[in-house]
Symmetry: C2
Subunit: 318 residues, 2 copies
């Protein structure tokens, strides 16, 4: 057997969940899976590049986890349930210790969410990981960004800014207080899959918060042809972030990326119901603003309107 | 709009085929597509890395074409029909002229095969392209590598070795005779999609020839727990390859990768029927050997048995 095939056999066969709907798995030219009647496919892909999305030297376990988590988050934002993943891993040398760590991180998260790893490839090159994830959603029930209505309340799950603060510590831009919870929020983000699957018939629109609350809620508003008003004092800030960043915490919360929380638009009368669904899914859901007629994003603090030139992470604008 | 989003809008929205089964396309957190009843999904992914799978400075149009073609070839080998693609493009700088060329190459091939580009992402990093392709096949009809039978004839479509010779010319390892046909076989490979879709109920097993006839027919034999006997004098060699490589042509044919032809196992009585189906799909199909009980690969030339230590391309063994 060739080396690439041997590495795939050793590290990636049977790595994810075992699913009855996988007819042909790793080892053929392509995988084959069965789609249950009454469901549509939800397809997404995301790439992590060394030196761009993670620091050279980041633990393999974290990269494996994050490469899947960022895609799980997209599936959650569509109110879908993840099913099958493909993995493309490019690495300079087949470092078996790193591969074992990477596989452990990817595999644990895949099994937690019943995701089967059905295929992929290894190539030699600069370290980068691309995952494609296919989910299932009842036909017609996928949740878009573009279907919010004026008057809807904007909510955010969990807490935001933690990952950005942890990254700033690693980059030496923020004093590192050694808080492992903050660091874990960057290295092992939690995609809100359990809540996503409860959103249909409840939320009117949803987006995953990968580039920062400001920019991402702005995208939801723009897609829905509305104006977002965000009350930055209501952004959910963890005790860890407040302790680490003090007065600057709200800036991390607003502008920091890599949160993988959900930004949800919901009719105002249904906010309590959404919060109940979130609690049942194990996460808090905090109203942070609302949508009104118009365009753009308006930030309010103590009822003053603020403006910011840059509100998040843009791959080609840094 | 952020720069990444603007580039995606400009170069990739509406790039592929328009399909009625795409419910949500580029611009949301994920794409949504409808699967017709009675079909299974066929999923594959492949990555091209600059400096590994193509030379730095290779034309963007060729990279766009090849990134899709290598995946189309996997779908064809499963006897499936391609439907939806995701594209992850990592590049050092958003060079708009290169992006336009890349999109032209990808888009033309996607439209030719009715493939919709439903999502993807752009990231900054070393140049590499990952495409994920989802195809459809009638339930239970996907063609495997592992289902060949002893006595089956091994056939190869088109001609093999052309791409390897063209690459050798670019690398200065073979005298460059300037033949544009040979060069096009490397830069713009033709995936045998039309034939792939005609193979069910006819072929007993199939594999796409990406790493070389020797190694890939060996994989088919191994997956089917059989021994492959390849008569190297019967390998289909183009007039262009013969002119360029002379006596060494058969080595390119046997050992060269990047052909993206199909290797097909077929019951001997049905070889004429397969050749007829191939002609109807616009390609020749040449018997090159057979499968027998045992294991491994046996190469024959003028009825002598030969042995080779290396028979193809292995990403981690060069």
């Amino acid at each position: 057997m060739d080396r690439e095939g041997a590495l795939i056999e050793r590290f990636f066969r049977d790595l994810g969940a075992q699913r009855d709907d996988v007819t042909i798995c790793i080892g053929d030219d392509a995988a084959v899976t069965a789609v249950p009647p009454g469901y549509e496919l939800v397809l997404t892909t995301d790439t992590l590049v060394a030196g761009v999305h993670f620091l050279a030297g980041a633990p393999g376990r974290s990269i494996g986890h994050r490469a899947l988590a960022v895609n799980l988050s997209d599936i959650a934002a569509m109110a879908a349930v993840p099913a099958w993943a493909l993995l493309s891993l490019t690495l300079p040398e087949p470092d078996e210790s790193w591969l074992a760590q990477f596989a452990a991180g990817f595999g644990a998260l895949a099994r937690e969410h019943r995701v089967a790893l059905v295929g992929g490839n290894l190539a030699r090159g600069p370290l980068s990981v691309t995952v494609q994830l296919v989910g299932l959603v009842s036909t017609g029930k996928a949740l878009r960004r573009s279907t919010a209505a004026a008057g809807d309340v904007l909510c955010v799950t969990g807490s935001v800014g933690d990952a950005a603060a942890a990254l700033a510590m690693q980059l030496g831009r923020l004093a590192d207080n050694g808080d492992p919870k903050l660091r874990a929020r960057f290295e092992y983000p939690t995609a809100r899959v359990a809540l996503g699957a409860r959103l249909h018939g409840l939320a009117s629109a949803c987006i995953d918060l990968s580039d920062g609350v400001g920019i991402d809620l702005g995208r939801l508003a723009s897609a829905s042809a509305l104006r977002a008003i965000i009350d930055i004092e209501r952004l959910p800030i963890s005790a860890e972030l407040a302790a680490a960043a003090g007065e600057a915490a709200w800036q991390y919360a607003l502008q920091g990326g890599e949160d993988y929380e959900l930004g949800i638009a919901v009719p105002s009368a249904r906010v309590p119901e959404l919060q109940q669904a979130a609690l049942a899914a194990g996460v808090h859901c905090q109203p942070v603003g609302r949508l009104v007629a118009g365009s753009g994003v308006e930030l309010r603090r103590a009822n003053n309107v603020m403006q910011f030139s840059s509100m998040g992470f843009d791959h080609f604008a840094r």
